[in-house]
């Protein structure tokens, strides 16, 4: 299926507003956070789309928002589609899709850990990569590296500084 057919099938399956965003590398389907769960559910359960795998899930901090990306793949039809959803930076909330794809569990935990997006309905949302008492979410663009963590000096040495991009 090409992206146009996918878009039509998606529009027929849900009554939420779906926007087609095209950049240099193809079409992404942009939805609002309140429609996200229904759209992803339709992607999985609509027989024409049948996206049985959530291949990738992440967020990107752009300006004052976090763009969530869901890369879905269908082993039945061999097509891939990317769903995009914008949540605000502070207090951003998105529905969890663990009940659709159990593999989303760790992906969402990673997005929460590194970007600070809350997933409502997630069974066990806690940090996965960083220690539980870590402050801040490092993959945000405005993240400031802590100088100390529990008494450990984290400041870059002179040698490290000489390699860093100005």
């Amino acid at each position: 299926m090409d992206s146009k057919q996918i878009f039509e099938a998606l529009q027929g399956a849900v009554d939420h507003e779906i926007e087609q965003v095209e950049d240099s590398y193809g079409v992404k389907f942009k939805v609002k956070p309140e429609g996200l769960f229904d759209v992803l559910k339709a992607c999985q359960q609509n027989p024409e789309l049948a996206c049985d795998a959530l291949t990738n899930q992440t967020g990107i901090h752009v300006d004052e928002a976090i763009q969530l990306y869901y890369v879905l793949y269908s082993y039945a039809h061999h097509h891939e589609l990317i769903v995009n959803c914008e949540v605000p930076l502070e207090g951003g909330k998105a529905p969890s899709v663990v009940e659709l794809w159990p593999g989303a569990d760790w992906l969402e935990r990673e997005t929460y850990d590194l970007l600070g997006v809350q997933f409502t309905g997630h069974p066990d949302l806690k940090r996965i990569m960083l220690p539980e008492d870590w402050e801040g979410h490092p993959l945000r663009k405005d993240y400031v590296f802590p100088e100390f963590y529990q008494g450990i000096d984290n400041r870059p040495s002179e040698i490290t500084k000489s390699f860093q991009l100005k």
């Binding site: 590398y25 795998a53 959530l54 990107i60 061999h78 990317i82 995009n84 794809w101 990569m129 993959l139």
Partner: protein, 373 residues
């Protein structure tokens, strides 16, 4: 008579420095005697923030970091990123470079699977296969060293091709190695693959059904072990794979159940055979010519989000790259096979013996640096 002993669950800690957890991974296990009730992997000990580093590096400068994402298959890890960027900027890679990439990639796939197989055997108590397979891996390291000068983290591929051409008699040396290696594989098969003790430890242990494998998004040999005949090299071919002939092995329940540990093990074994077949064809087909396309020094891919994927030894490696049209990436997300393979352990571990859990971790072929990035 009829007196019931009440037993309590005991929480034990396995790792992070445990030889059978394949790197620095910690498991928190609740057990009733020898039976696992609950198993929770605690990961992140090797988190080196490679994704954040990628935002500060130039596109070419990030390639050596991808070596460290998966050090057992650094060629394929390089390839995954380079292919993504090439597709973004629309570079055509010279034909000789494509063949070289396939050859070193498949050699690296063999060496990675050798570690996977050997480590599984070692976890189950057989130390000899591991040493034997490491010996074979040394020959592959020698061949790759001839090609690029490094033995573990190669940094051989670059955006637009490969850094250097191989020495003159490299192809003959590879062919010579393959002849020797096939015999060595037979020896190894007699030692473990068809060994009843080994089979009984692996068969019907840690079965992952087809639905679970797809739902948890297992990839590569773990997915194929559960009976899904899917390989990116065949279903979404890149490079020169469409011209090459090879089969896609998948789990068929050889020793009882589809998707058990032995099936995953056996898929890896067969993939080694397929890789040998691919390299033999490449030796015949490789043309003369350039090995590097002309790529500008400052790469500036168009603005947008791109998802590229390649088949590495541990399955599909997906790079979700956002470019803002500058000389470094705006955001790189690396999605690796080990990450999802690890996330299925809480699901399949309950009801298992602790010793079987070791077999399952081995058969899922989890590599900690790839898991944590």
């Amino acid at each position: 008579m009829g007196k019931q002993l009440r037993t309590e669950l005991m929480t034990i800690n396995m790792g992070p420095q445990h030889p059978s957890t394949h790197g620095v991974i910690r498991f928190i296990i609740k057990t009733d005697g020898e039976i696992v009730h609950e198993c929770e992997p605690d990961v992140g000990y090797l988190h080196r923030s490679i994704e954040k580093i990628g935002e500060q590096m130039t596109w070419q400068g990030f390639v050596p970091f991808t070596d460290r994402v998966d050090y057992l298959a650094a060629m394929n890890a390089n390839w995954a990123f380079c292919l993504g960027v090439e597709q973004m900027i629309g570079t055509e890679v010279p034909r000789r470079a494509e063949f070289l990439r396939v050859m070193v990639g498949e050699l690296n796939r063999i060496s990675s699977h050798l570690i996977a197989i050997g480590a599984t055997a070692m976890d189950l108590g057989g130390f000899t296969p591991f040493i034997q397979l490491l010996r074979e891996r040394e020959y592959i390291n020698d061949l790759l060293e001839l090609a690029c000068g490094a033995r573990l983290t190669y940094n051989y591929m670059c955006i637009g091709g490969v850094h250097y051409d191989v020495p003159q008699n490299w192809n003959e040396k590879v062919a010579e190695f393959l002849t020797h290696f096939e015999l060595a594989m037979e020896q190894m098969n007699r030692l473990i693959s068809y060994n009843r003790i080994f089979i009984n430890r692996m068969a019907k242990v840690g079965t992952v059904t087809r639905e679970d494998a797809i739902g948890y998004n297992l990839v590569g040999p773990n997915l194929r072990g559960s009976g899904v005949q899917f390989d990116l090299r065949r279903n979404h071919p890149y490079s020169v794979y469409p011209e090459l002939e090879f089969d896609v092995p998948y789990g068929q329940g050889r020793e009882g159940e589809v998707g058990d540990s032995y099936d995953r093990y056996y898929v890896r074994l067969e993939e080694i055979r397929e890789s040998i077949k691919i390299i033999r064809q490449c030796i015949k087909m490789i043309p003369e010519g350039d090995v590097k396309a002309k790529v500008k020094n400052s790469i500036k891919p168009p603005v947008g989000v791109f998802h590229s994927k390649t088949e590495t030894p541990r399955g599909e490696t997906g790079y979700l790259i956002e470019s803002d049209g500058k000389t470094s990436a705006y955001r790189i997300k690396i999605r690796t096979g080990s990450f999802t393979a690890m996330s299925i352990i809480p699901k399949i571990a309950p009801g298992m013996f602790i010793a079987d859990l070791i077999a399952v971790i081995g058969s899922l072929d989890v590599v900690a640096p790839e898991l944590d990035r």
